[in-house]
């Protein structure tokens, strides 16, 4: 198992402070909640970056969101509206985001070449293809590896993907980092299965069992040099107990009604609210998958239905995180496996398109108000500042304070975090 604590004092956590206020009482199982621990929340605020990835599965249209081409033969019927960034226009379907583009970096120059769902999803979750003998970790796993606390008792990587279409194309994958950094996958409901304490086991029972296990472990290790093994063993148990205790993080009924109303009753809105709760509690990475944007037919009807929801969810998250002082530390990313063709087909649909599409980053060190990349007037090609998957991910990492040129190690073999030779787009880093 790779060590995940670099030893930096900045990344250490006062374990006693973290645990002491919550363990040792009958209410321990429900008490572990960083939301309720101001000192811990402050500690997290200081050092840890987090990501909420809004994964627009199936491929949302850049022409109906962040790179409109009104009046072009390929532009479709939606108009472009001005935003709070002079010179930057987005689709009329996003009037709320139009007032928040000064907080948001738009990358319009994506050319990622692969336009089949499965292959493209893998690349756009990793920033690169797998190679023979190397399964690369995805963005969530890297965030878990880089940002998780050594003794974290919240999950490090959570992914929501409720719809069935496309679910198997981009599962969370820790690659060579191993299961420790794999995702908690929520597909059937918004609360993890199997973490709830059994009704037949009381809170006191549960604590006493843990205390007994602890006592027996200490007795066992006397006279044996098993410190590290036992440490790992105990860490695993603490993590499980912690994750069990974090069940309430997934419960939006813990939020005041006005907050729940703000996010709305849609599945997307509710999962975004849970994502906010999770990152606030210290979870480094949450993906909220909103399937399914693959509008081969009736593209404009589909986007008229789905983009306003995206507009609402994005802006609610942006505002909520800002009000909680988390804008600098939590980055909201909108991304998909690809965009959609400028050409409108006979069914008034748009098809898969990876040659000129868009994504956004809000928060972290992403430079708000910046636009990087320009497509031609029809949206068919990138004419300036082209971005491939590798440079996109290098930039994302950099905006999160992660050195994209660092190495992981497979055995003694160095494995760079991004493809060698990849440059960060420095102009979009604040």
């Amino acid at each position: 198992m790779l060590k995940n604590f670099c030893g930096s004092p900045e990344h250490s956590v006062n374990r006693r402070a973290f645990l002491g206020s919550t363990l040792g009482t009958a209410a321990a199982m429900t008490g572990l909640n960083a939301l309720a621990e101001p000192a811990l929340a402050a500690e997290l605020k200081k050092t840890q970056k987090r990501v909420i990835l809004l994964w627009l599965a199936g491929g949302a249209s850049q022409l109906e969101t962040f790179d409109p081409k009104p009046g072009a033969a390929t532009g479709g019927p939606f108009r472009a509206i001005p935003t709070d960034v002079p010179g930057t226009h987005i689709s009329e379907l996003m009037p709320q985001m139009a007032k928040r583009m000064k907080n948001t970096l738009v990358i319009r120059g994506l050319n990622t070449k692969i336009a089949d769902h499965g292959g493209a999803a893998k690349i756009m979750m990793r920033g690169r293809r797998d190679e023979a003998g190397i399964r690369y970790p995805d963005l969530g796993a890297v965030m878990a590896r880089e940002m998780a606390r050594a003794d974290s008792q919240v999950p490090d990587y959570v992914t929501f993907y409720t719809q069935t279409e496309g679910r198997g194309m981009a599962p969370g994958d820790p690659g060579f980092l191993g299961a420790r950094f794999g995702p908690m996958e929520l597909t059937t409901n918004n609360t993890p299965d199997f973490i709830r304490k059994l009704e037949s086991v009381s809170v006191l029972d549960h604590k006493e069992r843990a205390d007994l296990r602890d006592l027996l472990s200490k007795q066992f290790v006397k006279g044996r040099s098993l410190g590290e093994t036992l440490g790992s063993h105990n860490e695993a148990y603490e993590r499980v107990r912690g994750i069990m205790a974090s069940e309430k993080l997934f419960d939006i009924n813990q939020e005041p009604e006005k907050v729940r109303d703000r996010y709305g009753k849609s599945q997307f809105g509710q999962q975004a609210l849970i994502a906010r709760r999770l990152v606030e509690a210290g979870v480094p990475f949450v993906r909220v998958g909103r399937a399914w944007w693959d509008s081969h037919g009736q593209n404009f009807e589909t986007h008229a239905e789905m983009v306003p929801e995206l507009d609402h969810v994005m802006t609610t998250l942006i505002d909520d995180l800002k009000e909680r002082g988390l804008s600098n530390d939590v980055m909201i990313v909108t991304l998909a496996e690809f965009g959609r063709t400028p050409t409108i087909n006979a069914s008034l649909g748009r098809d898969h398109f990876a040659s000129a599409w868009s994504m956004t980053m809000t928060g972290g060190k992403a430079k708000g108000g910046a636009v990087w990349g320009k497509s031609d007037p029809k949206g068919a090609t990138i004419v300036d500042q082209e971005v491939n998957a590798s440079s996109l991910f290098a930039t994302i990492y950099s905006a999160l304070g992660i050195n994209p040129h660092k190495n992981y190690y497979l055995g003694s073999r160095p494995v760079p975090l991004v493809n060698p030779g990849t440059e960060v787009i420095e102009d979009v880093i604040a």
Partner: protein, 333 residues
């Protein structure tokens, strides 16, 4: 003149265009078209090689409805505007800037030319005085949201041939029959099969009622759309027609095609009501005819492109269809 049988219609002419044409209104041989290039155009279909000519470019988005009242051509678009154009003088009469708050989906002219009906995604049908442009009445009977909480669409409108009734149909399958003069609701029927909501795989919807028509005797209401869809990424449901005795609130027939998939975008009864013509499509298009009395399909003709609208002559012997990249004329041989 005898009403021609559907099997007499043959494809007579095609005019290629590099745009989607959404709407057509005819004045004799001249067809007025609304299209995806935001323009209203005209073409004389009696010419050997018809040429499409611009009439105006007053709109800011797809022109989805055109209607004629004498020499007044009214167009409606996704910009929510109505543009009133004098085709004799070739000049703008007026613009109704905020005719609707959302996308205008279709226009219809009353048979006597006195009224223009417009429908839009603000879920309102508005009736306008065709000579003054003044708003006469608003017909409100469709829900703004779908049952699943998303904005709905009002796709279909038609006058009865005698002009006494208006019919409107929406995304979720709700159809309302109105008294055209009083602006009051007379009846409603439901065609929910035409709306597919997918909560499991894709979490959005497709479909909706796309066309409505009333028979010349005012007895039969025809509703067109698409049957249930498995994969809502595509228009892959069977084309679907439902017939109602709307006064009795009774469903008379549900007819799905085994030959064609996609939407039925336009319906029109023969002048004597003996047959019903419908057109639409998915990736490709179709023109179909149904026997109204027997409630079965008579003829299904493949047309090379998705059809959005057609204009049928008063005698019922010519149908000019418009859609993706073409204008096609079917005539009785």
């Amino acid at each position: 003149m005898a009403i021609p049988a559907p099997d007499k219609f043959k494809s007579a002419k095609e005019v290629s265009r590099p745009v989607h044409t959404f709407a057509i209104a005819k004045n004799g041989p001249i067809a007025y078209l609304g299209s995806s290039d935001f323009k209203v155009c005209a073409v004389d279909l009696s010419e050997a090689k018809p040429e499409v000519k611009d009439v105006h470019g007053e709109h800011l988005s797809y022109v989805t409805g055109v209607a004629l009242s004498g020499t007044t051509l009214v167009s409606g678009a996704y910009d929510g505007k109505l543009v009133w154009w004098d085709i004799a003088a070739n000049k703008l009469i007026r613009t109704t800037k905020d005719a609707h708050a959302k996308w205008i989906r279709k226009l219809a002219a009353s048979p006597d030319g006195s009224r223009i009906a417009s429908i839009a995604d603000d879920m309102v049908c508005r009736l306008w005085d065709a000579s003054t442009g003044k708003l006469v009445s608003e017909l409100r009977g469709h829900q703004e949201k779908t049952p699943h909480g998303y904005g709905s669409m009002l796709y279909a409108v038609a006058f009865s041939p005698d002009g006494t009734l208006i019919v409107t149909g929406d995304k979720v399958g709700h159809v309302v029959v109105w008294d055209a003069k009083k602006g009051t609701q007379l009846a409603s029927v439901e065609a929910p099969v035409m709306y597919t909501w997918d909560p499991v795989q894709r979490l959005h919807s497709i479909g909706g009622i796309r066309s409505v028509a009333i028979s010349p005797d005012n007895a039969t209401l025809a509703v067109g759309g698409m049957g249930k869809v498995g994969n809502i990424d595509h228009l892959e449901g069977k084309t679907r027609l439902e017939l109602f005795d709307w006064k009795a609130g009774k469903a008379l027939a549900e007819i799905q095609s085994d030959k064609f998939k996609g939407l039925v975008n336009r319906l029109a009864f023969a002048p004597d009501g003996s047959w019903l013509a419908g057109a639409g499509g998915a990736g490709e298009g179709f023109l179909s005819f149904w026997d109204v009395k027997q409630k079965k399909v008579i003829r299904e003709e493949k047309v090379g492109n998705h059809i959005h609208d057609f204009a049928m002559s008063k005698a019922g012997n010519e149908i000019a269809l418009v859609g993706h990249s073409k204008v096609i004329v079917f005539q009785v041989a």
